[in-house]
Symmetry: C2
Subunit: 136 residues, 2 copies
């Protein structure tokens, strides 16, 4: 079984370093561009301005050997399992971001808001929000 993730594109953002990124999009996330790689362009057909999408990223700076964390990085918060937190340090460093499509500048350039992922973060999936399901 092929367990290797494929990077379908990259985030282009003014956020450059993990330390300056907010914990979550709505806590100060910026508008950012999704730059889709040439070979995956067919996959983004159908995405439209105004859409709510779920963006999955590969948080390449995450520490994959962490199983317990202090929530929000604060020592005063008791350590808990990473799977009950949104820490980027986790066995599979997958980021989950609910964002709105603001602009589509070219078939492979999609502007979204609000995004807390830093510049250069690999994109691994995009899904529509299914409002009927409460989602995602």
């Amino acid at each position: 079984m092929d367990r290797s993730v494929r990077f379908i594109g990259f985030v282009r953002s003014e956020l450059r370093r993990r330390e300056e990124a907010p914990k979550q999009g709505p806590e100060g996330g910026l508008a950012a561009w999704l730059e889709i790689a040439e070979r995956f362009i067919d996959g983004v057909e159908g995405i439209t301005c105004g859409d709510q999408i779920v963006l999955l990223t590969w948080l390449h700076q995450g520490n994959r050997n962490v199983l317990k964390v202090h929530p929000r990085g604060k020592e005063e918060n008791a350590a808990t399992g990473v799977f009950s937190t949104r820490s980027p340090d986790r066995p599979n460093p997958i980021g989950l971001h609910r964002v709105t499509v603001l602009e589509i500048a070219a078939p492979n350039r999609i502007k979204v808001y609000p995004l807390e992922a830093i510049d250069g973060t690999p994109i691994i999936d995009i899904k529509p929000v299914l409002p009927r399901l409460g989602d995602a």
Copy 2:
């Protein structure tokens, strides 16, 4: 960069074959067990009965070379990019499931509902739903 996903556990469900799985959890998903692998048990500490969680799975039967699909598998629906659908056939076959924790039978056995993933589906991440964010 290590791009390989780690399986933190497996879904145990009465749904055995992809053909009998509903398209989405709320469309006939069942209660199912998440069986967490021994080495990842510390990560699930803090998950509690009644929690809403986002489960990420690796849809191992998905076709990773598909970029366009007929939504909901119906030929009469015009083909569109996979990233504007929830098709399991996509470059990274990641399933996103919003479920409720019904029971925790042992540190590594978590019962959730409603889940459409079939028996044996690898689990790659669990995240809390952040209601404040509308989420996921």
